[in-house]
Amino acid sequence: MAATKSARPLTLVAAIAMGSVLVGCAPAPKRLYHWEAFQDQLYEYFRADRSGPEEQLRILGAQVEKARARGAALPPGFRAHLAMLYLRLGRDGEAKQELEAEKLNFPESTQYMDFLLKRMTAPKT
């Protein structure tokens, strides 16, 4: 929450830029989250034929750094998607951390994150 608040200068710049684009029609929308490549990378993940989880993690990891530097909030599902990519690579420890991080940042996700965490710790058959 505090991170969202400190995003002011950049979101303001973005809002002004959007405002000049949408002039005369609608009030300038101010984005709540730092989206950047997230949607493109979700599509890459679902297509599964252009790039692998390592490459997708590299791109999204760079986005995490950028968001952090700007004090911008990562979108809902972003950290959970990182967990999905880590799971693909068998990096379960990191996957768990990301699921916990999703829960911490979005308590609305608690029930589903706990469902996933429980299944991860359950003995594999």
């Binding site: 029609c25 949607q39 979700l42 599509y43 979108p75 599902g77 589903y112």
Partner: protein, 227 residues
């Protein structure tokens, strides 16, 4: 199970008419169309949304995931928590459900039990790709959505939206619609070569963002309960 969820007190034809008015007014952006009936939406006030894999009624195989990849943004920016789409998709696969049609038949109770979401978003893609019109090389994406509360089974909202490559070329597109296309397309162009994907993004944005007769603001929006 699901059919009983879609019988709130309002006439579906009234909604359909309202939706058509929205679509007609999108190019102009000035005059608000007839008001949508938000009674059920306001009564239920969902906090989190579960977007199920869209049912694909087009011959284009990319439609389901082209849209699913881009529906988190409008709903999250409207103020909702959106259940992570990649994990959601994987959860269904691991439970033996592979197709959107099958997934749309899962009972609201079961969805709520696993995902903990307040509402589910059922999307149907009816057009996706090139060649729906005589006009050469038009790319068009059309999708419909229904938002159903998973706690009460009530229909909270429904609507549809279209995005087309031809709208940017027509002369009266100085408005929001044309500009949104340009803005979003230039933003995505570096990373995605798939034209349909771009218009799927525009259609998703129109379908599920906060706008006239669109979804209401959610609790994470600073504008929550102001609309």
């Amino acid at each position: 199970m699901t059919t009983s969820a879609f019988s709130p007190g309002t006439a579906p034809w009234g909604r359909l008419a309202a939706t058509l008015v929205v679509v007609a007014a999108l190019g102009a952006c000035a005059t608000p169309p007839a008001a949508y009936d938000y009674t059920a939406f306001r009564q239920n006030r969902p906090v989190s949304m579960l977007v199920l894999p869209p049912v694909n009624e087009t011959p284009e195989v990319a439609a389901t995931y082209g849209v699913l990849s881009q529906v988190t943004l409008p709903l999250a920016e409207a103020g909702y928590y959106v259940v992570p789409v990649s994990l959601m998709d994987e959860t269904f696969r691991q439970n033996g459900l592979n197709g959107p049609v099958e997934i749309h038949d899962v009972s609201p109770q079961k969805l709520r039990e696993i995902f903990g979401a307040d509402a589910a978003v059922y999307i149907k893609v009816t057009q996706y790709g090139t060649g729906y019109r005589v006009i050469a090389s038009e790319t068009r994406v059309t999708a419909q959505a229904r938002i159903v509360d998973l706690r009460t089974g009530q229909l909270l909202w429904q609507g549809d939206a279209t995005a087309s490559s031809s709208e940017g070329r027509s002369s009266n597109q100085g408005g929001l619609a044309g500009l949104l296309v340009n803005a979003l397309v230039t933003q995505i162009i570096e990373t995605a070569s798939d034209t349909s994907f771009k218009y799927a993004g525009v259609a998703s944005q129109r379908l599920l963002s906060h706008r006239n007769n669109g979804v209401l603001y959610g609790p994470r929006s600073p504008n929550y309960q102001t609309d």
